[in-house]
């Protein structure tokens, strides 16, 4: 808003100078990025707090859970154990200790595997990541594709088909779908391997990335690569069905929203060919919400992974989390919570950065 002089006459004349650029923040983009980064760091701190509080306020006693009833009866053993974990200190002290250890990448020792949680995670995370990335890649192409297509065919047959298919995708329970796919694809048809990441008689390639497919290629083992890929297909299919449903639904409604925007009518009024209106105007407008959902779908993908991995005996993060949770392996649970939370926050941060790339309103001012 004008502050001084005779802004009104200038405006009326239609020759008003462009409003002065905001002085603060000479690099608006830098400012935006640092704000988003700050928020992400705060959230990560919040995640450490949540994992810590959650695992410390539980009524179940981890001592009994870890040591077993016999050892837990021995006060000597119990006291030793509690000291080891710092359980004899006050909660704030314990939290500080926890943070300190985190800074040294020390996530504690898993009670069930008797190994550092970090080492366990180093094996579990790539397994899930490989599955998740595989699924995300396929789902984004298929899901966004059919969602956009349905919106452009709004209220026609193709739209109804996509609506129903995507609803079925998100309505079928993942664990059941996993079982169905397992039964049909492996047991009945025998087309695909059933469980695990590799046939048992095959020797896994030396771990470089932790992705079986990539590592086997790096080692030049084509047969192993094919086998690893085949193992990915069934669990991948289960997760893809769900993620495609999710992405298709959101992309469809995002595009429908944009189709209602006046700038689309205006683009048509310019007499641009239909495909230009669609690709240049409609899809660009729908890109931000679609991007957001792709980011969010990662969370549901992880949820789905927990259930799918159980059925396919996929030794990933989901199975690890499940085993840790059911056996009250607190250090492992905290480790999983941390990894998952940080991953999620990182993805959202990346999505925020992409916003700035796509949207000039974010990029400038």
């Amino acid at each position: 808003m004008p502050r001084s002089g005779e802004p009104l006459t200038a405006e009326v004349a239609g020759a008003a100078t462009v409003p002065p650029a905001p002085r603060r923040g000479r690099h608006p983009l830098l400012r935006y990025v640092s704000i988003r980064l700050g928020i992400s760091v705060l959230l990560v701190w919040g995640v450490t707090l949540v994992t810590f509080v959650m695992t410390n306020l539980v009524p179940a006693d981890p001592v009994t859970a870890v040591l077993g009833d016999a050892a837990a009866a021995d006060p000597e053993v119990v006291a030793q154990f509690r000291r080891e974990l710092g359980l004899d200190r006050s909660l704030p002290e314990q939290y500080l200790l926890y943070l300190q250890r985190l800074l040294h990448l020390d996530l504690g020792t898993s009670a069930q595997t008797r190994r550092p949680v970090l080492d366990d995670l180093r094996e579990a995370v790539p397994a899930t990541a490989e599955l998740a990335l595989f699924v995300l890649l396929v789902s984004v192409v298929v899901g966004v594709g059919i969602g956009v297509f349905a919106a452009l065919r709004h209220r026609r047959f193709a739209d109804d088909v996509v609506r129903v298919v995507s609803l079925v995708g998100i309505s079928a329970p993942t664990f059941w779908l996993a079982l169905v796919v397992f039964y049909v694809g492996f047991y009945r048809l025998g087309w695909f391997p059933g469980s695990g990441r590799l046939d048992t008689q095959l020797v896994p390639p030396p771990q470089v990335t932790g992705f079986m497919t990539v590592d086997s290629l790096l080692a030049g083992q084509t047969a192993t690569f094919v086998n690893a890929l085949a193992h990915l297909l069934l669990p991948g299919l289960v997760l893809t069905l769900y993620t495609v449903g999710l992405l298709a639904r959101f992309s469809r409604s995002a595009v429908l929203d944009v189709l209602n925007q006046e700038y689309v009518t205006a683009a048509r009024a310019k007499g641009l060919p239909g495909r230009v209106v669609t690709f240049r105007y409609v899809l660009r407008g729908a890109l931000l919400p679609i991007l957001t959902v792709v980011g969010l779908s990662f969370g549901s993908l992880l949820s789905g992974a927990v259930l799918t991995e159980t059925v396919f005996v996929w030794h990933g993060l989901g199975q690890y989390a499940y085993q840790a949770a059911t056996r009250l392996d607190l250090q492992a649970v905290m480790g999983v919570g941390l990894v998952v939370g940080v991953t999620y926050i990182t993805i959202n941060f990346v999505v925020d950065l992409l916003y700035a790339v796509i949207d000039p309103r974010v990029r400038r001012q």
Partner: protein, 290 residues
């Protein structure tokens, strides 16, 4: 068709949403399940808990849906499962909608520190995948039905809080509300008369959509052994029995189909409700150019 739309102008909302065949299918299926919940025991051919030596028996005249690993009649268990999964999920949705909406409304109305605390807490919960968080909470509390519901409550309230907060903020600043307040209408009256009606509709649509999620979450937890405990005839638990005995497909197939059908039905209804409430969706879109 065109005639109907012009003659039934008043009371447009529900009828228009209900006109879609998908919605009709949804309502019919949901009503069917409700009937199963009410009639329950009358429909069961056998005692859902009664074991028999006739284990993993395939479909037959005696056992339409076969028997499970303990020789229990799957059909009876699917029917009995409806009386567990459906009321429990309704309860969960009601609880989480009340708790979430209340927190969201308080955050939106009071603002300031309360708003910050509640919403940041919601952000944190949402930073974790639902089932992982629910799994951890349920495991920590110990496997029981009550604990499973508490765990699910912990992970489901934030979405209601978010929606309600934004609706309350929107309604609070609307001109007619501001005008009412200026005219001296009390805080509570204003809340009841102007804010609540604006919030209730969308929250209701959300609960319908969320009911499906509640069923999926509950059965998922039970499937993992963190929800209901055996021998309860809960659908998720029944599917996990099918994992051990996957060659007997009927053990898992029917409870799974039960989950699918009711979740799908509610998603159909929820979609229609949302479309009916969302004015943007009602605008005619598309033209010759596309």
């Amino acid at each position: 068709m065109t005639l109907v739309s012009t003659t039934t102008r008043p009371r447009r909302r529900v009828p228009e949403a209900l006109r879609s065949p998908l919605t009709v299918v949804g309502v019919v299926v949901a009503a069917g399940w409700l009937l199963v919940v009410v009639l329950g025991p009358l429909l069961q051919p056998a005692d859902p808990l009664a074991q028999s030596p006739d284990r993993l028996a395939p479909l037959s005249a005696a056992h339409w849906f076969g028997t499970d690993s303990l020789g229990r009649d799957v059909l009876s268990r699917v029917i009995a499962g409806a009386r567990i999964s459906i009321p429990l999920s309704l309860l969960l949705v009601a609880l989480s909608a009340s708790v979430g909406s209340l927190l969201g409304a308080v955050a939106g109305l009071l603002g300031g520190v309360v708003d910050e605390v509640v919403m940041r807490l919601a952000d944190l919960v949402l930073a974790f995948p639902t089932i992982i968080l629910a799994m951890v909470v349920a495991a920590a509390l110990g496997p029981s039905l009550t604990n499973a519901v508490i765990a699910m409550l912990v992970v489901t309230w934030p979405q209601y809080a978010r929606v309600t907060r934004s609706l309350v903020l929107g309604a609070r600043d609307r001109e007619f509300v501001v005008a009412g307040r200026l005219l001296g209408i009390g805080w509570f009256t204003s809340l009841r008369r102007d804010v609540v009606p604006n919030v209730a509709g969308p929250v209701f649509a959300l609960t319908t959509l969320d009911f499906g999620n509640a069923i999926l979450l509950l059965s998922g937890l039970s499937f993992l052994g963190l929800g209901t405990v055996p021998p309860t005839p809960e659908w998720g638990l029944m599917v996990s029995d099918g994992v051990q005995n996957f060659t007997a497909w009927w053990v898992a197939a029917f409870p799974g189909l039960a989950i699918c059908s009711i979740v799908l039905a509610f998603n159909f209804i929820g979609d229609a409700l949302r479309d009916a409430l969302d004015p943007r969706m009602q605008k005619a879109v598309g033209s010759r150019a596309l």
